[in-house]
């Protein structure tokens, strides 16, 4: 007989079994209770608070991996699809007047910059063909053109503003809005975009100007930018308020 073996009475056997199963059942009860407890927690932006906290923790952790040297994979022009999927029309109300549009950039309270599309087009142009990733799970290789946000910020002297933690973008009708962390908006692939497949943006893709930010899910690629502002606190974010992760980074 090895030290792994033992001779015990029926009674001892029953006792050992009952003790182990008692612990087992208590643990099952804990698991069920924990699951129910989780779902009864107060909601923070449509997610139970413990989950929200964990998502924010994930943001901090995976944000450390973030680097301007980590680029979204790019593709040859020929890989770009002709029919670009249109997903979502929040903030795209029909009464929009493109002829009077100017990009509004709130530098400081009381100091607002107005920039026309022609002025934006006069800045160095960057094109990108990348795999646009929707938070729903689909992706599509698409071709966009515009000015790097970082080039725009440099040209318009936003050095002080880009030292803050976040950028907020809002559609002209204020129906859709996103908040983006500064490292992501200053990433070299992030564009203030005015072209798709070499032509001006179609209306349903956010004419005259939209955000293309390959390091984020599609929900952050706000169409039809009305105004931009800077903040150290998280700016309001449409899908964040509906239970999604604020960071939504790839």
């Amino acid at each position: 007989m090895t030290d792994k073996e033992k001779i015990i009475s029926e009674k001892q056997l029953r006792k050992k079994t009952i003790i182990s199963f008692s612990v087992f059942i208590v643990m099952i009860a804990f698991a069920i209770f924990g699951w129910k407890w989780l779902h009864k927690q107060p909601q923070e932006n449509e997610a139970p608070r413990p989950l929200r906290k964990a998502l924010n923790y994930n943001e901090g952790l995976f944000g450390k991996f973030f680097s301007n040297n980590h680029l979204a994979k790019t593709f040859p022009l020929s890989a770009a699809v002709k029919h670009v999927r249109v997903n979502g029309d929040e903030g795209m109300s029909a009464d929009f007047d493109a002829s009077t549009w100017k990009l509004k950039v709130a530098k400081t309270p009381g100091d607002t910059l107005f920039v026309t599309l022609d002025e934006i087009k006069a800045l160095p142009k960057t094109e990108i063909v990348f795999d646009f990733k929707c938070i729903e799970g689909w992706s599509q290789v698409t071709h966009w053109g515009g000015v790097k946000f970082s080039d725009f910020a440099q040209k318009y002297g936003l050095n002080e503003q880009t030292k803050m933690n976040y950028v907020g973008l809002i559609t002209p009708d204020k129906g859709y809005y996103v908040g983006i962390d500064m490292p992501a908006i200053m990433h070299p692939q992030t564009l203030l975009c005015y072209e798709m497949n070499g032509k001006p943006l179609p209306m349903n893709q956010g004419y005259p100007l939209r955000l293309i930010i390959p390091v984020k899910y599609g929900i952050k690629h706000l169409k039809r930018i009305g105004s931009i502002f800077f903040s150290n606190e998280r700016p309001p974010d449409y899908w964040y308020e509906r239970g999604y992760d604020y960071y939504a980074g790839l």
């Binding site: 792994k4 994979k73 990733k133 980074g249």
Partner: protein, 240 residues
């Protein structure tokens, strides 16, 4: 009096029973996520044999329009899955238990004999230690699947930050499909595992909770019997 033998160390029992609800939550939240882009099917051309998943399935389980909930659960419980799995593998390595789980030279041939035995096509099992050859292959396979789920999951979670990994796994869309296939394999493993546990009976199941198994008394000699009697009592000798 009963003869009992230690079978599963306490650590392994904890890893096992923590893993079960954690994987259940991962599969469930994965379903909530997958619904938002449920493109996979079995078939060819326009012919679909099996759609993942039929609408009736979603409806019955109240899956539609819960993407945000699914993502928040998935990206929190992934930590429990990863940490528990990591500690389990670490434990296997340090304790030497891996010798009882990883297949050896004989496992491939013997696993076939085990399958034939389980299908009642063969009498008697090849001699074994803690696990038979088929179990060794299945349990090692499921560990590899777990590592696969972790890596494919990480590379579709942060495909830009882990672009090299994502590219190695075949790119974003392939990796998502691989992650899905692994989940299907996990559920198939689960079903087979449950069936086998039911067939193996109470003594075996109790072993996963209490850690010990009762050794059946040797049958009285009948003369001429060809059954090989397997006793797990020599389980920790690792001479192969």
């Amino acid at each position: 009096m009963k003869k009992i033998v230690k079978k599963h160390p306490l650590a392994i029992r904890w890893f096992h029973w923590i893993n079960f609800p954690v994987i259940a939550v991962m599969v469930w939240s994965g379903l909530l996520i997958y619904w938002a882009n449920d493109v996979y099917k079995v078939g060819w051309g326009d012919k679909t044999i099996l759609k993942f998943f039929p609408d009736s399935f979603y409806k019955a389980l109240h899956i539609p329009f819960r993407l945000a909930e699914g993502m928040s659960l998935h990206f929190v419980f992934m930590w429990f899955f990863a940490i528990n799995g990591f500690l389990y593998v670490l434990y296997l390595a340090i304790s030497g238990e891996w010798r009882l789980i990883f297949p050896n030279r004989k496992s491939l041939k013997e696993s076939w004999q085990v399958v034939l035995h389980d299908l009642h096509l063969r009498k008697g099992m090849p001699p074994q230690k803690k696990y038979n050859a088929a179990q060794r292959i299945a349990y090692t396979g499921v560990i590899i699947m777990g590592i696969g789920s972790l890596l494919t999951g990480l590379s579709i979670y942060k495909p830009v930050q882990f672009h090299t990994l994502c590219a190695m796994l075949g790119g974003y869309e392939w990796t998502r499909a691989e992650h899905f296939i692994l989940t299907i394999l996990f559920t198939l493993f689960f079903l087979l595992h449950i069936i086998q546990v039911i067939l193996a009976g109470w003594n075996n199941f109790r072993g996963m909770v209490t850690g010990f198994e009762v050794v059946p008394p040797p049958p009285p000699p009948t003369g001429g019997g060809t059954m090989e009697i397997i006793s797990p009592s020599n389980e920790l000798k690792t001479d192969d």
